[in-house]
């Protein structure tokens, strides 16, 4: 399995897009930290990168890579290797390269300019988000053989999580504002990995505001160690579940 991961990693590196992504992340982070005298704005830029750019690049790149390596996968399948092994190696190869890109691009400036609980939280959350969206890419690309359709699905998925979901939540909030929905809202965030990530960072970044009325409810939930563990395990579930569905499909798929 390690050899396949190595082959895939080298292949991804050869294609240089990941290096470009790393450079762009680095440029964004360094310049945003360097321009402002307080690190808060730099953190906000990286927050937006985590919530916006990282998911998009992870999910798109992984999907396209999977489609393009379909011949390579077929070749591997003709060898005496288990299907599970092939699929897992692909997943590890892709996630590893995305995580590495994030750590080198955004992680280093984060650790230099904001090496406190917020910075470290952002680093961990950014890595997790990368992996979550690689897993989602695996799920989407296994759904259809048609490349255009697959990429379409992926872009929809990204749009849904990055924009639509929050729109729906906002709509619900105002439609149901007469009811005590705070606790239900906490539950609803579990349905979007981006929201889970955002709230964890928010609790550290806007500590004072989060001590306010409803903030307190969220803080009581997410701010405690239990909440922290819970939201991180939810994020991990967002990796495990899509990937395992895709793995099951891949095992029985007629290629």
């Amino acid at each position: 399995m390690n050899r396949i991961i190595k082959i895939i990693l080298l292949d991804i590196l050869k294609n240089k897009i990941i290096i470009g992504y790393t450079l762009i992340l680095g440029l964004l982070s360094w310049s945003s930290f360097g321009l402002e005298d307080n690190s808060a704005k730099g953190l906000l830029t990286i927050l937006n990168v985590i919530l916006f750019t990282v998911p998009l690049v992870s999910i798109l790149f992984a999907t396209i890579y999977l489609y393009n390596s379909s011949e390579f996968i077929e070749l591997l399948l003709s060898q005496p290797i288990k299907r599970k092994k092939i699929w897992l190696s692909l997943f590890f190869g892709l996630s590893l390269s995305m995580v590495l890109a994030f750590i080198i691009g955004a992680g280093i400036p984060l650790l230099i300019y904001a090496a406190d609980s917020i910075g470290i939280m952002m680093l961990i959350v950014g890595c997790l988000i990368s992996v979550v969206f690689v897993a989602l890419a695996f799920l989407c690309s296994i759904l259809t053989r048609d490349k255009a359709k697959g990429i379409g699905i992926v872009i929809m998925t990204w749009l849904y999580f990055a924009l639509l979901f929050d729109g729906i939540v906002l709509f619900l909030l105002f439609q149901l504002s007469d009811y005590p929905i705070e606790k239900a809202m906490v539950l609803i965030t579990a349905f979007s990995p981006i929201d889970l990530a955002r709230i964890q960072i928010l609790l550290h970044l806007d500590q004072s505001a989060m001590m306010g009325y409803t903030g307190a409810i969220f803080k009581d939930f997410f701010g405690t160690t239990l909440g922290l563990i819970l939201s991180f395990s939810l994020l991990c579930l967002w990796v495990v579940i899509p990937f395992f569905i895709s793995l099951r499909k891949f095992k029985y798929k007629d290629l």
């Binding site: 307080n38 808060a40 704005k41 906000l44 927050l47 937006n48 919530l51 916006f52 990055a162 924009l163 929050d166 729109g167 939540v169 906002l170 909030l173 105002f174 504002s177 929905i181 705070e182 809202m185 906490v186 965030t189 929201d195 955002r198 709230i199 960072i201 928010l202 970044l205 806007d206 500590q207 004072s208 505001a209 989060m210 001590m211 306010g212 009325y213 409803t214 903030g215 307190a216 969220f218």
Partner: protein, 409 residues
């Protein structure tokens, strides 16, 4: 000339004052006895030791002096020291364990309807009320260290409690663990200067119906609900620190029904709300720093004719919030770190007006749960378009001369 000399000699014989010493090794062992023996103008000097004499009443004009902090213990039963004469000086005692009672309000030190009393350099520990000035004039409370261990509001009194008084000076005291650190009700023409009030259960400073006062260079930190100034006219609030007052009903500074006052040179840092204003009018808020608060200022629609100028708003989650669309206050020449305009003529003033009220601040005011969506990309988009074309937020909520660089305050 000679006559004058005799005259001075004559008067100086009147001025002669005795020192009556109290202590374990002294002839007089009881404070009460010493006070009974003392004449007007005498000094009662108490040496180190533990004195459990119940309620000590000072009913003549004497200097009541402690050496090496003798301990006066109220045994949780009595009011420790009652001052019932003008011009008394209480200096250098450690006063502990006053009684508890909601009807009597037993205190560490209480001044009853007197003037020119000075209470200084004392340590008060675990009293129900700390120092209580009732209907006093020209009294000084200075350099006292007041500490209590209150758990709930109902079971503990205030650190320095001043009621219906005039011309008081409350200077350089440290108060913690009481209900309100410093409490002013019906107190006029007084000053609160260089005090440190922290970790009190309710307010660091509670201020009601007290006109023409000033509080300057105090630190209010980590109190249950911050500082409240209510129903008062002509208050001056200069150079104070309001820090880390956190909670759903905690404010750095709560202003309610205040008029004709000045808030200048203060620093509001890490509070849930820096300033919360309600029914406030004709106030000048100038040269303050609002830093890392949840809400820099919450200005309710019931406020009018307030002027907010030359302040720094840095790193707040929301700079300003309001609950209505009526705006009768003016914002001029503040520095907002969220300002994104430009300055073509390089005069340090932004060329584009700044709307400090964000759409999201209004949304959360109407529906607090919306806080959950803060910093989501969707919301940022909505906020941006609202900044350019205000539709939900009142468009006269505007700083026409926002500064490009923060003021050095």
């Amino acid at each position: 000339m000679k006559n004058l000399f005799y005259l001075i000699l004559l008067f100086s014989s009147f001025l002669q004052a005795n020192v009556i010493e109290v202590g374990v090794n002294k002839p007089i062992k009881s404070i009460k006895k010493a006070i009974a023996l003392a004449k007007v103008g005498d000094t009662v000097l108490v040496h180190k030791g533990l004195y459990k004499e119940g309620n000590i009443v000072i009913n003549k004009k004497i200097v009541f002096l402690g050496k090496d902090f003798p301990v006066l213990d109220g045994q949780k039963k009595y009011e420790v020291l009652s001052v019932k004469s003008d011009g008394v000086i209480v200096d250098g005692f450690k006063i502990i364990n006053s009684g508890y009672g909601t009807l009597e309000d037993p205190c560490g030190i209480k001044v009853y309807n007197k003037s020119h009393v000075t209470i200084q350099n004392n340590i008060l520990n675990d009293n129900f009320f700390g120092i209580y000035i009732q209907n006093g004039t020209n009294c000084i409370v200075k350099n006292n260290k007041i500490k209590a261990y209150g758990k709930e509001e109902q079971r503990i009194g205030n650190g320095i409690h001043c009621w219906k008084s005039d011309s008081l000076q409350v200077i350089a005291n440290t108060v913690s663990g009481h209900r309100d650190g410093i409490y002013f009700e019906f107190v006029t023409n007084s000053i609160i200067w260089r005090n440190f009030s922290s970790k009190n259960i309710r307010y660091g400073l509670h201020f009601m119906f007290s006109n023409d006062d000033a509080y300057i260079s105090n630190v209010f930190k980590n109190n249950g609900a911050g500082v409240a100034v209510m129903f008062t006219r002509r208050v001056k609030m200069f150079n104070n620190y309001f820090e880390e007052n956190w909670g759903d009903a905690a404010y750095g500074l709560l202003l309610k029904e205040i008029s004709d006052s000045y808030i200048i040179g203060n620093k509001f840092k890490k509070n849930t709300s820096g300033i919360h204003m309600e029914g406030t009018s004709r106030i000048l808020i100038e040269k303050n720093i609002f830093e890392a608060n949840g809400w820099g200022m919450k200005i309710q629609a019931s406020c009018m004719d307030n002027e907010i100028k030359n302040n720094n708003f840095v790193g707040n989650t929301f700079d300003i919030s309001t609950n209505g669309s009526l705006v009768l206050n003016t914002f001029n020449s503040n520095y907002w770190d969220k300002y994104e305009g430009y300055d073509l003529d390089k005069n340090g003033v932004g060329d584009v007006h700044y709307h400090p009220l964000s759409l999201f601040a209004v949304l959360t005011e109407n529906n607090p749960s919306a806080m959950l969506l803060f910093r989501s990309f969707m919301i940022t988009l909505l906020d941006k378009s609202e900044k350019i074309l205000p539709s939900i937020t009142p468009d006269n909520f505007v700083d026409k001369t926002p500064l490009m660089h923060s003021l050095s305050l």
